[in-house]
Symmetry: C2
Subunit: 208 residues, 2 copies
């Protein structure tokens, strides 16, 4: 038998187009599932009012951040408007080793980088029920022009061709149902033979 899992906790990566509702699903999961913990990102941008070190972000300077990149300390990182954002690998692995599931909410590019660095993660793609519903949600936010929204929809269609890099896809039409579905995925992943059987078998054998 070949059991590849090394950690008692699992990394769940929630990804998908902007407007699909991954943030809302993530928030609900964290509220309702005490065994799940959010991965806290590292950033070089300045803390904003009310942001706490280690809760909102780990704040650092560019020099240290670049050192982390060079040392391969990050599961993924990106530069946005001159600031760096990334996911510290050691902190995630530490929680997984402690048997705590970690959830990471991230765009597709980030998710694909995480997959390269941690293929044992569970990759979940959150989808809107339809393109027209996605357009409606993005328009409703009132933060982007109609043109920018159409560009974003085009990007979403392109992203869909990467869906086979993911393990699961969940359509977020009714929020309750989408949350229940992601919860079911968390439970099912913990029941996978490759994940859980080795320890179980040992306990039966010891007892017998």
């Amino acid at each position: 038998m070949n059991f590849t899992e090394k950690h008692p906790g699992k990394l769940f990566v929630l990804s998908g187009p902007s407007g699909a509702g991954k943030g809302t699903i993530c928030k609900r999961l964290l509220e309702e599932t005490k065994e799940l913990e959010l991965s806290v990102s590292m950033t070089t941008r300045n803390p904003r009012k009310g942001e706490e070190e280690g809760v909102s972000y780990y704040f650092t300077d560019k020099e240290s951040f670049k050192k982390h990149i060079e040392d391969g300390d990050l599961l993924e990182y990106a530069e946005v408007y001159g600031n760096y954002y990334g996911t510290p690998k050691d902190l995630v692995l530490k929680r997984l080793a402690q048997g705590i599931d970690v959830i990471l909410e991230i765009d597709m590019q980030g998710a694909l980088k995480v997959k390269e660095n941690y293929p044992d993660g569970v990759f979940i793609f959150i989808l809107p029920p339809s393109m027209s519903e996605l357009r409606k949600r993005l328009t409703g936010r009132g933060t982007e022009t109609a043109e920018a929204i159409e560009l974003r929809l085009g990007e979403t269609l392109k992203e869909l061709s990467y869906i086979d890099k993911y393990d699961y896809c969940v359509v977020n039409g009714v929020l309750e149902e989408a949350v229940a579905r992601v919860k079911a995925i968390v439970v099912a992943e913990h029941s996978k033979v490759a994940f859980t059987a080795e320890e179980l078998i040992e306990s039966y054998k010891e007892e017998a």
Copy 2:
């Protein structure tokens, strides 16, 4: 992209040692999940009082049964005390094609045969919480001698080495929890990218 699934319904195979409680879990699942249907076996034994054709079993004669074996019409079959029992392939596939999930409760030998004939099935191993609990349950039934029970426990230990042929394992300590876990597996399997994404992507593209 390579989507291997052919049917909108899924075959869930519940297996495990006698006394693990797969029958009870199966019964509860069928009561609580209307999208699931039990696979009805074919047999050459005579109908007992109250047994209905097509509900309890499909009753047939030995000659016809042997013809079914030869024609590869069965997902699995076994001979028990001179009678044949088997799972008719066409009936299962028909329900799967109609988008109905089929559940099959079967011993390990049967499950492994089903896997050979239908690898797209989802194979779930139901386990007792411990060997001592399994001994207690088997003793409690009062149908077997202490010696027969010890033999059965030995068999169970051997069966455990085949657990990596299964996709999931569920420990049946508290029945409610085990049922919830199998239900979560059913939901998660329907959210798998390989199972559901192709159709979804088509719908987005058509709309755009």
